[in-house]
């Protein structure tokens, strides 16, 4: 029991995910698989109008239909406004919605809730609901929203919990503000070149394969149990308690395996509907969104319009950036005040090195479109499309290689980043990421473009990205680890594994800390009744924030184990050593195994051998990366194919190389979709046209010809084993990198995503 490496499957090892065997044999582990067979089926009746008031609603005929258990309208729901956004106190998103409202603010807004024994019955009943609408003028363009005479939230009980974020419902404003450092106007005036451009991104859909869904029932104690496909169980508990006007003690949220989230499920999109049905009827109820519903009444990316002014000297020194972002939060304010902030705070700091001044200002407005939410990247994706495109445009204006231009200006390890909340880049290898990504793609030979014998043009483009690791001073993670029968560790996790593998990587960290095989750590999560509080999995927080909680919990647990072991050995704790599989006297004379320690404390035990430590961080260390795209453009048709994508990521220490690699490849693929294929569209009446995979084209495996990922690990001193985050940063580079490759191929600069053949052939040509 002495010496040797007892850790197996610890930090740095590509162990398979703990849930892989169940997932890959099709076991019933997702929400719908485990819902009671006799659940009522809950369906929503959706508003056909972008902006309207319900004058009259008659459900009398519908109610008499066979199988109908209950039909609810705005007259039947509590009157307390709430937000569906899953965020920590003090919630930035305004309390601006009811479960059902008389005032309908976008196409798809729920008009009525119908619960019946079968889906067929619910839909048949819904067709008999009669509604008289008074249609109001709709605001569909974010640029028209601010100070428009039409108010989207005129209600007196509209409430912003953080008023200084600039929210004002009398102006259709959810947020407004400015952050600045230095005299940006003076610096821009002194620059040799100023790139002054506007870029736009759309309301992209996360398209997790499992749509929104939840089931609810009353438990033996008369409490509401909610089993939900959510990233934020603890936030959902608060949201439901507020919306339903019941105490939090009466709500329990359980998260089983979930089929992807990407931020979509950081918003309580659907839980309230079955919940109110269960409260009203006492019966179990479930809701499963169709793909169409998931694309019309969900929580997509905030569409943003970004005006960048980027000032530099002839030699390529970037001195000033001025960015204004107009963000469209849609009909409700979910994540509206917060996403917009990242568009500047996680793009401008990349160019800290020579920067004399920056200004970042923003407005987030209500419109009569689908409420936006959180989507991987959370505003940084939008901001980086703008800033990285502007930097590429600057390189062309200066006739300089964009890699050289970046080398001259990128943030260096140890530099304070004024545009990143004044935090220091304590770990940063973005320079190495860029050097290696260029090498991988063959930048020197390929930049900017070459024509193939078949007339197609091959071209390359690059972009950098950063993100955060959790929200500093806010996000909290915790795990509870207990030593049990025979020496097994049970780890209870409050963070939500949504397919990302956090249950596994947190177990790997625990195995490393407790010097044992990863198979000796069982994991369980999440249940708000038994899991320790964790804000949930979002903001790239889990590896960094919850990972640190694992490290701290294990430290405390080791001390406890040593104390109990020393008692069994008849020595003082100071004279005993933790050895992974047991405790030994420091002089080597005697030892007691972990199993003996665990078993001994079960016999008239006096001390529970468990530990639970919460952890948050005063900083949010950014991961960095570089992405280089090589495209093939057919000048005859304007079709762009991605030939190769080389990405190098600095996520600090890599905890599980396989899972970190999959995160990166998956994020890149979503970014590629955003760049080339995914086009959120609505018609002139505000109806979402791109409401299925027929219209909203996400990449298929044929589109993933070649994607290569490497790591350039730094060591983050505040992170667990030196780790930072990876989940979100990886979606940010494809759009600006591909846009520049396209420019290099044909001279057309696309500043509004996606890059379609039509745009290349018909317009947006440089003057």
């Amino acid at each position: 029991m002495s010496g040797g490496n007892r850790v197996r499957g610890g930090v740095g090892v590509p162990v398979p995910k703990k849930d892989a065997p169940a997932l890959l044999t099709g076991k019933p582990v997702y929400v719908e698989d485990i819902a009671p067979r006799d659940c009522l089926c809950v369906k929503l009746m959706h508003s056909p109008h972008a902006h309207a008031v319900i004058e009259e609603i008659d459900v009398s005929r519908a109610q008499k239909m066979p199988g109908v258990a209950c039909i609810l309208t705005h007259q039947d729901v509590p009157g307390t406004r709430f937000t569906q956004a899953g965020q920590t106190y003090p919630e930035f998103s305004p309390y601006d919605r009811l479960i059902l409202d008389r005032h309908l603010r976008c196409v798809g807004d729920p008009v009525a809730i119908v619960a019946a024994q079968t889906e067929r019955q619910a839909l048949a009943a819904m067709r008999l609901i009669r509604v008289r609408y008074r249609v109001l003028p709709a605001i569909l363009d974010a640029a028209q929203a601010m100070d428009n005479e039409t108010l989207i939230h005129p209600e007196a009980d509209w409430r912003a919990l953080v008023p200084d974020c600039g929210a004002d419902n009398r102006r259709n404003l959810v947020a407004a503000g400015e952050d600045a450092h230095g005299d940006v106007e003076a610096e821009l005036a002194a620059c040799d070149v100023v790139i002054d451009r506007t870029y736009e991104t759309g309301a992209n859909q996360q398209c997790m394969m499992e749509t929104f869904r939840a089931f609810t029932r009353m438990d033996a104690y008369g409490r509401l149990e909610v089993v939900s496909s959510t990233q934020v169980p603890f936030h959902v508990r608060r949201i439901l308690a507020t919306a339903l006007e019941i105490p939090k003690s009466r709500v329990r949220i359980v998260k089983p395996r979930i089929g992807g989230g990407f931020g979509a499920k950081q918003t309580a999109v659907c839980e309230q509907y079955p919940a109110i049905v269960t409260l009203k009827t006492g019966l179990p109820a479930k809701i499963v969104y169709t793909r169409g519903e998931s694309m019309t009444l969900s929580s997509p990316r905030h569409a943003m319009r970004m005006h960048v002014r980027l000032g530099a000297m002839r030699d390529g020194t970037i001195r000033a950036i001025d960015l204004h972002t107009l963000s469209n939060t849609g009909a409700y304010g979910e994540h509206g005040p917060t996403t917009v902030g990242l568009s500047g705070h996680k793009s401008i700091p990349l160019y800290t090195h020579n920067m004399k001044a920056f200004r970042f200002s923003w407005h987030t407005v209500y419109t009569n479109t689908m409420s936006a939410g959180a989507y991987r990247g959370y505003g940084a994706t939008q901001g980086l499309f703008a800033v990285e495109s502007a930097v590429n445009e600057l390189a062309h204006a200066l006739d300089m290689d964009p890699a050289r231009l970046r080398e001259r200006n990128i943030v260096r390890e140890g530099e304070v980043m004024p545009a990143y909340y004044g935090e220091t880049a304590a770990s940063c290898t973005v320079d190495r990421c860029m050097a290696r990504a260029r090498e991988m793609i063959g930048w020197e030979e390929k930049y900017p473009a070459r024509t193939l014998p078949n007339g197609h043009v091959r071209a390359v483009g690059m972009a950098l990205a950063m993100q955060g690791s959790g929200i500093s001073n806010v996000d909290t993670g915790a795990v509870l680890i207990r030593l049990g029968d025979g020496g097994v560790y049970n780890m209870s996790i409050g963070a939500t594994d949504m397919g990302t593998g956090c249950d596994t990587i947190l177990a790997q960290m625990a195995a490393q800390s407790l010097e044992c095989p990863v198979d000796n750590i069982t994991v369980h999560g999440v249940d708000t009744d038994t899991s320790p509080y964790d804000c949930g999995s979002y903001a790239s927080s889990t590896t960094y924030v919850t990972g640190m909680a694992v490290v701290k919990t294990c430290e405390q647990l080791r001390e406890k184990i040593v104390r109990v072991g020393a008692k069994l050995l008849g020595c003082a704790p100071e004279d005993a050593l933790f050895e992974g599989d047991g405790v030994r006297r420091a002089d080597g004379s005697a030892g007691v195994s972990l199993a003996e320690i665990a078993n001994a404390h079960m016999m008239a035990g006096t001390e529970d051998i468990s530990a639970c430590v919460s952890s948050g961080s005063p900083v949010s260390p950014p991961p960095f990366m570089c992405g280089c795209a090589e495209i093939d453009l057919d000048p005859q048709t304007g079709e762009v194919k991605l030939v190769d994508y080389a990405a190098v990521v600095d996520c600090g220490t890599v905890i599980n190389p396989n899972l970190a690699m999959r995160q990166t490849e998956g994020g890149l693929m979503q970014g590629i979709g955003m760049a080339l294929y995914e086009r959120p569209q609505m018609d002139h009446l505000g109806r979402t046209v791109s409401n299925s995979f027929l219209q909203y084209k996400i990449p298929t495996r044929v589109d993933a010809q070649r994607i290569r990922v490497e790591f350039a690990p730094s060591y983050e001193p505040t992170g667990p084993f030196g780790a930072k985050s990876i989940g979100e940063c990886v979606i940010n580079t494809p759009a600006p990198a591909i846009a520049d490759a396209v420019y290099n191929a044909c001279g057309v600069r696309v500043r509004s995503l996606p890059i379609t053949p039509e745009k290349l052939l018909l317009g947006e040509r440089e003057a």
Partner: protein, 153 residues
């Protein structure tokens, strides 16, 4: 109306409505591996085998299964374990929600074209969407699985 089909080797009789899909029927019969990701036959999540051929169960009327043999991942657990190990070895399953449909289509590919090239793998499985993995690791895993089949006695 009633339909009688052979489900994973066992004869089953069930009552169906005229507009029920095979997907609806299979879920009702407790075949939880079968998932639905869209309503427009685009995602491949609901792939099962009908008389040994891969079909999208969302677009096959349940009534048409009368007298036919239907196989889901529940009926191919041994194969699932072997392909699953290849996928899990790469971490290629991520959320896992698309995995059963993908795997059923891989089994069909293995039967039709056991020596498939990477390009043939991509083309065959193009209708199986995955939003997590970025696909490239799945390509490697499927290739490895097909190769492992070759060395099987």
């Amino acid at each position: 109306m009633n339909v009688t089909l052979t489900l994973n080797g066992r004869q089953v009789t069930a009552a169906v409505e005229a507009d029920d899909s095979l997907y609806t029927l299979l879920r009702a019969l407790g075949m939880h591996s079968v998932k639905c990701g869209c309503e427009t036959t685009n995602c491949g999540l609901c792939t099962v085998h009908m008389d040994g051929k891969a079909v999208l169960s969302c677009s096959v009327p349940a009534a048409r299964c009368d007298g036919h043999a239907v196989t889901t991942l529940e009926g191919m657990q041994e194969e699932a374990k072997r392909l699953g190990e290849c996928l899990a070895g790469e971490g290629a399953e991520q959320c896992g929600f698309c995995a059963p449909g993908l795997m059923m289509n891989v089994f069909a590919l293995a039967k039709e074209n056991p020596h498939a090239t990477e390009a043939e793998i991509d083309a065959y499985l193009a209708g199986n969407l995955c939003r997590c993995s970025g696909y490239v690791s799945q390509r490697r895993a499927v290739k490895r699985y097909l190769e492992s089949m070759e060395v099987q006695p």
